[in-house]
């Protein structure tokens, strides 16, 4: 473990902003909320934040991105390809969001080999930070996602005038080469351990059972309509819980005409399984027509379907869906607990 003075870390970030070809983005306070956005200077960072509006997922899987682009001519269609890497340097990612990105990596890169995701992700650098504040909606402590030992290039822990820095990759190590860092003292190592050990206890909310029990709990409760209906009744099918989620990745592929009248292409943009026509087909059938079917689908997917397919519990306990649900019916911890109690009472 290394240690860097905060002023030296700021210099490091300012140096990246100035000279690295990649865009540097970081957590900032925009007045009403914390957001990941392009960083003009290190002093704008708010690394003591609780939770951001959107997760950094948006940099690898943007709200809207071009998939293909072509030019039409007398000879037919010519594909316009730009598959160069477009990574970013992302400063201030909390452990639960790092875990979400690791999950998306396994799905988009390792399994489904999605090129648009790869070219954004591969050349990126993730500088994590251990939480100093805990969102009142988060239940990451109980999901095992409040701390992580992987998924970052560097991981910072705030030690007043210094950061303890854990190196997670060769890229991370290289980043520190030009900066005045020193080895951590034994006391500093102990202090980081104390901070991360105590972190899970700081969450007021939590699921009341081990997260590994979620897949089977959901299997058993698929037909527990009393619970599903209770929450779906108020649901407005607005899809906010989908777009705010760091592990939701459903999308539409739309055709657009852009730039000029002889070029066009397709874009993909975020979609949400809560939206009414998400599972509709051309023949007129809608395979999740009822709100309760869509509401249940999201929670099944987070705790069961993704696990069955890719091996991960896809709810990382950030609490964003709870915080932003207008109808206050989205809280996974509350719903999962209710299922748990109804099964284990």
């Amino acid at each position: 473990m290394k240690v860097i003075r905060k002023s030296d870390f700021d210099d490091l970030v300012n140096g990246l902003i100035e000279s690295d070809p990649r865009e540097v983005v970081g957590v900032q306070d925009d007045g009403t909320k914390y957001v990941f956005k392009p960083l003009e200077r290190a002093a704008d960072l708010s690394l003591d934040y609780d939770v951001t509006m959107l997760s950094p997922k948006k940099y690898f899987f943007p709200q809207k991105e071009r998939l293909v682009q072509y030019r039409e001519s007398e000879d037919g269609y010519e594909m316009l390809r730009d598959w160069s890497s477009e990574g970013k340097i992302i400063v201030g990612v909390h452990p639960y969001d790092l875990i979400a990105i690791e999950q998306l990596d396994r799905i988009f890169i390792d399994t489904q080999q999605d090129e648009p995701y790869r070219r954004k992700r591969e050349n990126s650098l993730l500088i994590g930070v251990n939480m100093q504040a805990v969102s009142e909606w988060s239940f990451a402590g109980s999901m095992g996602t409040a701390v992580t030992d992987s998924g970052f290039d560097l991981m910072l822990t705030d030690l007043e005038d210094r950061y303890a820095v854990e190196i997670g990759s060769r890229k991370g190590s290289k980043l520190l080469e030009e900066s005045p860092v020193r080895e951590a003292t034994l006391e500093e190592v102990d202090e980081v351990e104390r901070i991360t050990d105590e972190l899970p206890e700081k969450f007021e909310k939590g699921i009341e059972f081990p997260p590994e029990k979620l897949p089977s709990l959901l299997d058993e409760n698929y037909d527990n309509m009393a619970v599903w209906d209770e929450y779906a009744d108020g649901c407005l099918s607005c899809g906010t819980c989908n777009v705010i989620c760091p592990t939701c990745y459903c999308f539409n592929v739309d055709v657009v005409d852009f730039i000029t009248d002889d070029t066009g292409g397709t874009v993909r943009r975020w979609d949400g399984c809560l939206l009414e026509d998400f599972a509709a087909v051309a023949g007129g059938e809608n395979f999740r027509e009822e709100t309760v079917q869509r509401h249940r689908h999201r929670l099944m997917r987070k705790g069961n379907y993704i696990y069955e397919r890719f091996g991960d519990i896809a709810c990382i306990g950030c609490g964003r869906c709870t915080q932003h649900c207008v109808a206050d019916v989205a809280d996974p911890a509350e719903i999962y607990n209710k299922l748990w109690r109804s099964t284990n009472a």
Partner: protein, 285 residues
Amino acid sequence: MPSEPTDAEPNWVHYEPEEATLVAKTTFNEIDTVFEFELEDRDELGHVPGQFVQVFVPGVGEAPFSVSSSPTKDGPFELCIRKVGSVTTAIHEMEVGDTLGIRGPFGETCDIETFKGNDMLFVAGGIGLAPLRSMINFILYHRDWFRDVTVVYGCKDPTEILFPEEIERWQERDDIRFDITVDEVPEGVEWDDHVGVITTLLPGLKIDAPNTYTIVCGPPVMFQYVQEELDAKEIPHDHIYLSLERRMHCGVGLCGHCQINDLYVCQDGPVFNYEVIKDRPEALS
């Protein structure tokens, strides 16, 4: 962490369609037409019966269609397309020589090897004949691999019958039984065959249940009633396959639109063993 630089790796999904030229079209009625496409850069689509392609119409959209021709047919492949939305309307307006984009083939299908030496029963409702035709022609090409081959096909009325000339040829063969029915006969339309819903054709069939494999495709409402008849015949559930329709956007197991509980129609289907999907409530209704 992502793998090392990967430009050399062949399997990255770019979502890029390849160009295909419309070389022939045969219209059956106001809304159903079969289109023959030739790929610009390769001779064959390389599909297996049951798979689908994504058809990209520049400026209009992209939509999935099951391949209607058998891989045993050389050259161009066929898509039978019903005009129901913007993409299908745009395809219907295309002239021979026009081009569009194709991605695929995608999807899993049934293991034809396991069917060898058995009877085959196809149940097609309406546009459901389009995907089944690929498998039917594949099986007729390898006719001696199988015992009895039976097709039952139901349409709303005689004007909706797809591939009428091909059906006539099938009916003339003595190594395949082809039964057809229509729900109703509109006034002024000539029809001297069976009238009634598709399930009325099934009780009369002599079926050797343990040695019969069944493939069903049709509107969701049909499945349930057909299944009741197949149960009455005691066909084992793992001998029954269904070809399901969903609105895939990506074709590669990501976009989520085709998800049936934990399954993806684009990767685990579109042809499913009934044993696999019968307990998944989102599959059929």
